[in-house]
């Protein structure tokens, strides 16, 4: 076997130029595939992270009927027990109890449907990153209670600016319309224009005063210490509080969850297509190598190299090309993905389009380790499959004819 491996290795380097071209094409193919995958993965993750940080959080708790029509009478069941459990659970990093009002925001210039989130604005900073996306004004300030922080899209829609008043009309617990007057103190731009056009934040203290009680909570949004533990955390809470609806971010926003699942499936399809295209290059090269060495293969068969060893020799030659090119391709990909993962890629030229999908203008490439590993294994598998055709061609040679080949 050692001798077969030695011959195969030396055969790879007999025609250095050809081997370098195949190796370079494999490196380039792997790099372009992995780098493109990292961009797609980054776009998707950025969209998910943006949604998680600005609106979804990791997990949300509601009354089972609340999300059907945002009726404010559907408040969280056993609220104190729920909050106590969250305080004690070590998987919970932070949570925010919110009042959520769905209604019509209006000014003298126009009206639009919005969702008002009333939360403890200091605690809310641990859950959402709206405070870091203020483009005008401040994220609540002073002791004035009627403050509102609104999205930039909403401000543009209603021609609003700082210090201007905004009215929110909503249906109260008794089924009657009620109107709040708030003063805009800050305008945020989260990177998701749809969210920015339909959300505003207010101080919970003020809403408590309006409702005349402090225990009205429609939503608890929480962030876990580890996103991978969120599913487990949800199951624990579901067992403890079966009369509440507890949803993961991917359930609250199923389109994001599906997109995430689809993306990882799509990335493998994408890489497989690239690798299949590369495989044809390998097949072509190895076939040429076999056909131009017919006489030599005939001699090897004549002097006693049996068919399984001829097969192994061709398979090893193909494998060696991969052994050289795959680590290099993966390493170069890793270096470039890590580099652009740090400095980012400037996509400001398509910023507006990206914002529609909740993505920022700077893309930080990223790719999971298991993807690198799986693609490496897939490449070796496809390389092995690629060796079958040339090896089979070699096995069909008749030694008596092959030794006389030119």
């Amino acid at each position: 076997m050692r001798q077969i491996i030695k011959i195969a290795w030396r055969n790879v380097w007999r025609n250095k130029l050809r081997s370098f071209i195949v190796i370079a094409s494999m490196i380039l193919g792997l790099w372009s595939g992995l780098f493109s995958a990292s961009m797609m993965s980054a776009l998707n993750n950025q969209r998910i992270n943006s949604a998680i940080k600005s609106q979804l959080s990791h997990l949300q708790i509601h009354h089972p009927s609340f999300q059907d029509n945002y009726d404010i009478k559907y408040q969280i069941n056993s609220l104190n027990e729920v909050l106590e459990a969250l305080d004690e659970n070590k998987k919970v990093a932070s949570y925010s109890s919110r009042i959520v009002l769905s209604g019509m925001a209006s000014t003298a210039r126009g009206a639009t449907g919005v969702k008002l989130i009333g939360a403890d604005h200091i605690n809310e900073k641990n859950i959402t990153d709206i405070h870091s996306h203020i483009v005008k004004g401040t994220y609540f300030s002073g002791s004035t209670s009627r403050q509102a922080v609104i999205g930039q899209e909403l401000a543009e829609k209603l021609k609003l600016d700082i210090k201007k008043s905004i009215y929110l009309t909503f249906v109260n617990e008794n089924g009657l319309q009620e109107r709040l007057k708030l003063k805009v103190v800050g305008i945020f731009k989260s990177g998701n224009s749809m969210f920015d056009g339909s959300h505003m934040f207010a101080k919970k203290d003020y809403l408590d005063k309006i409702f005349g009680k402090k225990d009205i909570i429609h939503e608890v949004a929480l962030v876990s210490n580890d996103i991978n533990q969120v599913k487990e955390l949800k199951d624990e809470l579901l067992v403890a509080f079966p009369d509440n609806e507890i949803e993961l971010w991917s359930e609250i926003s199923p389109e994001l969850g599906y997109a995430n699942e689809m993306l990882s499936f799509f990335l493998y399809i994408f890489m497989t297509i690239i690798l299949i295209a590369l495989s044809f290059g390998i097949i072509n090269t190895m076939l040429m190598a076999v056909l131009e060495r017919k006489r030599e293969l005939g001699v090897l068969m004549s002097v006693g190299l049996n068919k399984s060893k001829i097969f192994l020799m061709i398979a090893f030659e193909t494998l060696f090309i991969s052994i050289v090119s795959v680590p290099l391709g993966v390493l170069i990909s890793y270096i470039t993905i890590s580099y652009f993962g740090d400095v980012g890629i400037d996509l400001s030229i398509v910023e507006e389009g990206l914002e529609q999908f909740g993505m920022g203008a700077r893309l930080y490439t990223e790719l999971y380790l298991d993807y690198y590993i799986n693609i490496t294994l897939l490449t070796f598998l496809l390389t092995f499959i690629s060796s079958l055709f040339p090896a089979r061609r070699a096995l069909k040679l008749e030694p008596a004819v092959a030794v006389r080949s030119i």
Binding site: N11, L305, V403
Partner: protein, 227 residues
């Protein structure tokens, strides 16, 4: 004692609709220690005959018995193994493995036979010495002259201690000095070690050194002379 016996060997090739009788009812025996030249014009069936003796080609009819074993009945992998252990080949174009050194080319056959590293090394050096190429052991075929390559090919053929060596026009690509050198080596091996050599050749220098000359024409034995 017969090393090889052929019985009614026929080999028919199809060239389109035309059938060519490359071998036509050839029955002949070869004894241990013979130094035989098979001669005849181009297309007379010399190479086909050697290939059939070596199990590289299967006859259409007839048998090839080597030490009373009919090799025409052996399956593909069995015949490869049989060749490895019993038959040495020397080809017209040397046909060494270009990526292996002279010594590695000789060792390769022994490796296939499962010789230990020490035995391989010892025999390869002995054989290189026998063909006068001790100093060239680390050179690859591309760094050797045609004559030197053919001497390595002879050493390779001898490596597995075969029952006989089949050489297809071994001197066709060699100059006179290399031809003489090669023939001397093979003649010595035949004389000292009783190694059986069967050549196909056009070369009068080889024919002159042969102890037996078989002439083929149109796939038939025209004459069989002991010299």
């Amino acid at each position: 004692m017969n090393v090889i016996e052929t019985k009614n060997l026929k080999k028919i090739y199809s060239q389109g609709e035309i059938k060519v009788n490359a071998l036509n009812d050839v029955s002949i025996n070869f004894k241990q220690g013979e130094f035989t030249a098979i001669v005849g014009p181009s297309g007379s069936g010399k190479t086909t005959f050697l290939n059939t003796l070596g199990g590289l080609d299967k006859p259409t009819f007839g048998n090839v018995m080597i030490d009373n074993l009919d090799i025409t009945k052996l399956k593909a992998n069995k015949i490869i193994d049989f060749r490895l252990r019993n038959i040495g080949f020397v080809f017209q174009s040397y046909n060494l493995i270009p990526v292996l050194t002279a010594k590695e080319n000789i060792e390769f056959i022994m490796l296939m036979q499962g010789y230990s590293k020490e035995k391989r090394n010892k025999r390869a050096l002995e054989l290189l010495d026998a063909v006068g190429l001790s100093k060239e052991s680390k050179r690859r075929p591309g760094q050797l002259s045609g004559g030197q390559q053919q001497r390595v090919a002879v050493a390779r053929a001898l490596a597995s201690k075969p029952k006989f060596i089949l050489a297809d026009e071994p001197t066709a690509n060699l100059d006179s000095s290399s031809t003489k050198n090669l023939l001397d080596i093979m003649y010595d091996l035949n004389r000292k070690e009783k190694m059986t050599f069967i050549f196909s050749t056009h070369d009068q220098r080889v024919i002159d050194r042969a102890k037996r000359v078989i002439t083929l024409e149109d796939g038939k034995i025209l004459s069989d002379k002991i010299t």
